[in-house]
Chain length 287, copies 2
Amino acid sequence: MPREAFVNGRYVPHNQGAVHIEDRGYQFADGVYEVVTIFDGALIDEGPHLDRLERSLKALCMDMPMSRPAIKLVARELIRRNGVTNGIIYMQVTRGVAPRDHKFPNDARPALVMTTRQTKPQSAKLLAEGAKVISVPDIRWTRCDIKSISLLPNILAKQEAAEAGAYEAWQVDREGMVTEGSSTNAWIVTGDGKVVTRAASNAILSGITRRTLIKLIQAEGYELEERAFSLEEAKVAREAFITSSSSYVLPVTQIDDATVGNGHPGLLSGKLRQHYSDYMASAGDPI
Amino acid sequence: MPREAFVNGRYVPHNQGAVHIEDRGYQFADGVYEVVTIFDGALIDEGPHLDRLERSLKALCMDMPMSRPAIKLVARELIRRNGVTNGIIYMQVTRGVAPRDHKFPNDARPALVMTTRQTKPQSAKLLAEGAKVISVPDIRWTRCDIKSISLLPNILAKQEAAEAGAYEAWQVDREGMVTEGSSTNAWIVTGDGKVVTRAASNAILSGITRRTLIKLIQAEGYELEERAFSLEEAKVAREAFITSSSSYVLPVTQIDDATVGNGHPGLLSGKLRQHYSDYMASAGDPI
């Protein structure tokens, strides 16, 4: 059975999934997306992901392409057809097809594409050693709260990280404060044990894993500060880690040339990773 | 004969032109484009447009998808097939198709799409009355010199203009200085007759029409200043106008609620428009 994709109302073989050359996603990056984790046959935080999809669409004056129940149904059918038990489902919505013109078309219908992918567990080496991150200037637009497909600066940052042998690039604003990674949120643990991550604003994407981890941190009684931190503060922090739907909670042990803490994944980072794993194992939505 | 498009090596009916759902242009805005004017059966400034295409690609570490002679050949064949005598040819190059991953793929082949469109002459009313522009904050990334398809902020600005009954939105940076329009360059004429436009930098796209007009201004002996100007200076300027491949030189007579000059298209703007029209009529590359 070939892998399938859902493209504008039809299930098609993945390699035949196609959109028109004048889809505004292709010509203008006029669209948004979500990536939902599939963990042990369950969808993690599907509700919050669909909430954010709706918020991103609204910020661009777009409607949901289908009702929420219909999206959930299609997602499940696609996952079932592709036999995915651990991996991701990717959903992309664009403003649709229209003759190229910057302003919104009057009569385009939103386009919806979904794909799935089975993924391997994170590498044991990466988990044992922790991730290396580099810092890059944050060159993005001012509406990073919208999960848009306008990702060119993000891919340039990620590529720079890859070329430096790093897992991720932390973007640093004009004031020297870390905003977030190219596809992850950034966290540190201070010398006195406070967990710190930048407060949600237009400068970062309000990550769903970030949001869930904040709840877990509060439930477990750890101290949390939602505030900006500088790159310099991060380099001398006790611990550092990143979160995302596909990285979960991943310890960071090197930032540029600075070793974080003792160079091994931090204790608290490890505990938070475990709490998040427990959450995934228990709180997923059935497929 | 149905209208055709050129899509990754083949001439196809325009309405069947399609790209894969994992083309990086669709998922990451990982691509660049050019729009070349077709005027009276000739291509305007084709060479500079292809130069810029190559520069944009280089900035994103991408190669030209075909040799320059091959691109020129395909462009001409497509224009011929579609019988376009006045209009535009649109060329888009993306990094190609690869499983979704932020970092550059190792083996993707650049994707090339070309479309053409026959256009009507600019409206006589617009030319007689001049264009209205509104101002919006410039919320874009810091590499506006790259002509990328990462155009989401540009379409939001243009849409805001359209909703305000305006032709264009001038984007204003944090210092209150005009950068450029959402798809045009911005110009003013000062009280003492100097033509002013922002100097090329990462903050604006170095327009090909802008570049040609600078040469014409210099050849005609008008005084030119390449410098930033504030929105306030623009509102009290003697004249204002915009340039682009599809707008040519278009007088501006209103900026937000301010009337520019006496409210009619400026004299010098009109002369420059005429110089640019003469240039198009004489300097095009044959198709």
